[in-house]
């Protein structure tokens, strides 16, 4: 089993690695810089599959497939490959006259026929049409049957999900499997990210992201949205609990602030602080002494 150490890619301590396992394919999404690094680090006998392949313009498609077969002593039949990858119609066309789509299919065929058992696919679906995406899946199947190890690295998450429903992501923190269920759940919650408030005789629903801060004043709780105030019918403590996961912070006994709207913190004196909101009035909200350091931690990454 071959592997590329993650520590070499991200330049940080890490004991994970990208593994090439026979008959297994894995898909990893990563930033462009890492893609270049991984391609560089790939060991000598890994076949690198890109979204296109350099070809001999004077030779025909068939000539190419036969050359791949002979060079690699592949057991796969040339005619069979031309048929499977839907190249029969152009098999006698010189590459100078072929489309990018045809050349991309040749890249897939070359990867399947390669005598190297490990294949690293780098952004393989860049510019691929629907037909070629299907053929890419066919290629993956053939590789699995042939016992080849395939690692697909791509910069685009969408592309990764086109290739497999199970993908991993490489970031500064290392290699992590992307949880596919979570984002959907979050999406469904976006519609619920509202809070009910009263304005005279109407009940209105306020998007959480519009809220600047919430204050309690003489037993009543008010939501502040750019110069407007609405009463809500719950206590500050209850609201704090509800909104804690949405970037709100109880900065003071009577205030909850939307961390997204905080512009700056001003120290007036040793124990007096204010939070300045990012609005036209530059509203200043009190900040408890005890919360001073905690809010700063929350405000930065």
């Amino acid at each position: 089993m071959r592997e590329i150490r993650i520590a070499d890619v991200i330049d940080k301590e890490n004991d994970q690695s990208i593994k090439f396992r026979s008959g297994v394919s894995s898909v990893i999404q990563m930033p462009v810089e890492y893609i270049d690094r991984v391609a560089e680090l790939a060991f000598k006998d890994v076949h690198i599959l890109e979204n296109t392949v350099p070809v001999y313009e004077r030779l025909t498609v068939k000539d190419h497939v036969r050359f791949y077969k002979k060079w690699n002593k592949s057991g796969l039949g040339a005619a069979d490959m031309l048929r499977q990858y839907k190249l029969e119609a152009v098999s006698h066309t010189r590459l100078a006259l072929c489309t990018a789509e045809t050349i991309q299919r040749l890249a897939y065929i070359q990867a399947v026929m390669s005598d190297r058992q490990a294949v690293l696919a780098v952004n393989p679906l860049y510019n691929a049409g629907i037909e070629n995406i299907r053929l890419f899946h066919k290629m993956m199947e053939q590789m699995a049957q042939g016992g080849k190890a395939l690692v697909v690295i791509t910069s685009s998450t969408e592309e990764a999900f086109v290739i497999s429903s199970k993908i991993a992501r490489l970031s500064e923190q290392g290699l992590k499997e992307v949880e596919t269920e979570m984002p959907e759940e979050r999406n469904s919650q976006t519609s619920l990210k509202r809070i009910k408030a009263k304005a005279q005789d109407k009940t209105i629903f306020i998007d959480l992201e519009d809220i600047e801060y919430i204050e309690s004043n003489e037993g009543k709780v008010y939501i502040n949205i750019s110069r407007e105030k609405f009463i809500i019918e719950s206590t500050l403590a209850e609201t704090e609990k509800k909104l804690a996961d949405y970037g709100f912070y109880r900065c003071h006994r009577s205030y909850i602030v939307n961390l997204d709207k905080v512009k700056e913190i001003i120290t007036w004196s040793k124990n007096t602080y204010s939070i300045v909101m990012e609005n036209q009035e530059k509203t200043k909200i009190p900040l408890s002494r005890t919360k001073y350091s905690e809010i700063q931690e929350l405000l930065v990454m």
């Binding site: 001999y56 004077r58 002979k70």
Partner: protein, 234 residues
């Protein structure tokens, strides 16, 4: 050496050679020159060794040397070898396969040219050894340059001096008439002249000089090969 790979490259490059007009027309040059030289001079006299040497020099420099150079340059330019070269061995296979193509094409073209000239050359051991050594020198030169250049366009920079100095050496007689001139003295040590001397009877010293030229060519090729493999591994 992997015979399967050599044959794969041979087959592929033979197709490329015959479909590439720039390469294919070079095989016609020695034959056309043979027709030209046949009609020059008195009919009854035998073709002088110098003329034959010019034909051989032309064939070797324009086909053997230039074709392999151009073929390698094109692979470099289009990066078509990227997936194929994984070790020095596979590079050697590629070079061998290509060499076989150009040797074959040169052989056919030169053979036809000599037939056209109806040349009477001695096919003794010395003559054949000289042809082989001369071929080795030009092939090595072509491979070395081919490994180094990045594009087809740059090959012409190397090709012209190679053709003028090494290919058409005996033509110097038509430019510099004085036999004792320094240029003529130096030219007599160039490879193609050695073939003339061997045809005229002396064998030992010219063969030795040819060996030195062939060795120099091979050293240059080996150096270029090593340099290229270092670059590949970067």
């Amino acid at each position: 050496m992997n015979t399967g790979r050599i044959m794969a490259i041979f087959e592929k490059d033979l197709k490329e050679f015959t479909r590439n007009m720039m390469l294919f027309t070079t095989t016609l040059i020695p034959i056309l020159m043979a027709f030209m030289f046949r009609n020059i001079g008195p009919e009854s006299t035998e073709t002088p060794a110098v003329i034959i040497a010019v034909i051989i020099g032309t064939a070797y420099s324009t086909i053997l040397c230039s074709s392999i150079m151009t073929m390698m340059a094109e692979e470099n330019e289009k990066d078509t070898l990227r997936g194929l070269v994984q070790s020095p061995a596979s590079m050697l296979d590629i070079l061998t396969g290509k060499s076989l193509v150009v040797i074959m094409m040169t052989g056919i073209s030169l053979g036809l040219a000599l037939l056209v000239m109806d040349a009477e050359i001695s096919w003794g051991a010395g003559g054949i050894a000289a042809l082989v050594l001369l071929g080795l020198f030009f092939l090595a030169l072509g491979i070395a340059v081919g490994l180094e250049v990045k594009s087809v366009a740059t090959t012409s920079v190397y090709l012209l001096p190679i053709m003028l100095v090494f290919g058409f050496t005996p033509m110097i007689e038509t430019i510099v008439g004085d036999e004792s001139h320094i240029v003529r003295q130096v030219a007599e040590y160039l490879p193609v002249y050695q073939y003339v001397f061997i045809q005229e009877g002396t064998e030992a010293v010219p063969l030795l000089i040819l060996c030195v030229w062939a060795a120099l060519g091979l050293i240059y090729a080996a150096w270029a090969f090593k340099k290229r493999m270092n670059d590949e591994n970067k």
